[in-house]
């Protein structure tokens, strides 16, 4: 029935939107990074639900199962998770340096201090 067929994708879309909203609207830099994380994780969920075959077990070849889910999205998402954590680590390092030089992590303060000097 329709709900089970596309429920996954709708949740993915809603998560994506919450993530994007956080990145755009929230002024705090750390909140933006969390938003970015939520946004990226939603894409991972989308890829994995694309790869799922009902009744298919984990793609580890064994005598027990015959139907497997699609291994390719899993590989892609492994790389994407690594990319996600790499970006988060770099972003947090940037936030620390911004905190040291600007004294605040609020976008508002940074813009005002930038325009002053």
């Amino acid at each position: 029935m329709l709900l089970s067929a596309l429920y996954n994708y709708w949740v993915v879309v809603l998560l994506m939107m919450t993530g994007l909203y956080m990145v755009i609207a929230q002024g705090n830099l750390i909140k933006k990074i969390i938003g970015l994380n939520v946004f990226q994780t939603s894409v991972f969920i989308f890829y994995i639900s694309v790869g799922k075959v009902t009744g298919g077990s984990a793609p580890i070849l064994s005598q027990l199962a015959t139907v497997y889910s699609n291994p390719l999205p899993h590989v892609l998402i492994l790389t994407a998770i690594v990319v996600g954590i790499a970006t988060t680590a770099l972003a947090l390092a940037l936030v620390l340096r911004i905190r040291q030089s600007y004294g605040s992590v609020e976008e508002q303060d940074i813009l005002t201090r930038d325009s002053q000097c």
Binding site: V23, V43, T79, A91, L94, R97, I98, S101
Partner: protein
Amino acid sequence: MLTHLPILQVILPLVAAPSCLFLQKSRLSWAFTLLVSLAAFVVSALLLQQVMSEGSIRYSLGGWDAPWGIEYRIDVLNAWVLFIVTGVSTAVIAAARASVESELGASRQTIFYTLYLLCFSGLLGIVATGDVFNVFVFLEISSLSTYALIAMGRDRRALWSAFQYLVLGTIGATFILIGIGFLYMMTGTLNMLDLAERLPAVESSTAVLAAFAFILVGICLKLALFPLHLWLPNAYSSAPSIVTAFLAATATKVALYLLVRFTVTVFGIDFSLSALPLQSLFILLGLAGVFVGSAVAIYQSNIKRMFAYSSVAQIGYMIVGIGISTVAGLQATLLHLFNHALMKAALFLALAGLVLRAGGCALEDFRGLGRRMPWTMGAIAVAGASLVGMPLTAGFISKWHLIAAAIDSGFWILALLIVAGSLLSAVYVWRLIDAAYLQGPDKSLPEQGRNEAPLGILIPTWGLVLANLYFGVETSLPVTVTQAASAYLLGGAP
């Protein structure tokens, strides 16, 4: 050895980057980076020559053939962009030593060169690969290293612009990832050519349309097309001068290559034009980019920021070229890709010399520069003339082809608008020349003698300037290559 050229092109800098971390002395790491960049340039020249003679090359990684393993496909378009990126990188790194030493201090040199090599290999990886997901991975490598490189700028604004670029860049890259996900879901493959074959079957579904829209927005974010260009001026003006020189001449070019590759090869030009009103969209956005970019550039006091806005304008020209979407239009874009790389690399290297000597690059530093640093100012003047599109310079050739392409497809008004845009760029170049040569040195400043930029920066800068002039007169290489590329992409030639 020749069969492994495509992979050597990317692996050489990729493996060189971690090994560069072991060389602790800064002069050694600079020499190592220069050597690697030169080797990459030689490889790309060989590759271009091979592709021009034998047609496109396929190289399957890991021995698995196309849709299952990752495949490198080098056709004239890839080879051309690879040639530009490696050439610019060699010139920029040749001039990098003095400028990087003065702007970054001694301790951070080795890390700077390692990050530079990573960014360089990331860009090459994007251009050389024939696999859609591989593009995303190498896009991330180049973007991450770019954020880190920009954040190494001297004043604190570099940090803030790096953070802004990171957020926008990550959103762009994730949009591309969503697009790839949709494509994979509808066709089941990740190889570009395989996608091109299987897409027409599912073309009508909105999922493919959404994939096209997402990938387009993602790339335009990376490309700094007009409405999405806000990160570029801050990033380029606060980054170290050598980084700006490299990025201005290559990063947006690679994004443009991606745009051409996706709209033409993967989705097919007729689908791209029918799915979204691409032609009018690109022409409008391109022209808006030209006029807004040039207009804002005129009122900038920081010259690096001024040339950053002019980059936004020049990208607008390239997008207009694609918007015309005829063989001549695409050729004009590919030509401007090459010429713009030459101009901007020369301009920003000259600015690096100025920043090295005068400590900053505001308009006041330009007063009486004609006497203080004649060679650097000469380079800026000639490269500026090329930017404006004066005859006998490379800029004129690409302007000429753009106008010819516009008139050829009947857009007379577009031709006039393009020319008006180049006049706008004449205004802000003229401000520099006027300040440097024609205004007398203001009396308040002590009369400094002539303190020219170090030879290390001057030689590569003038090398690029002479290339600008040479390719303004003897255009057989760029014209034949771009002709072959656009004929191959749009004209259906083999």
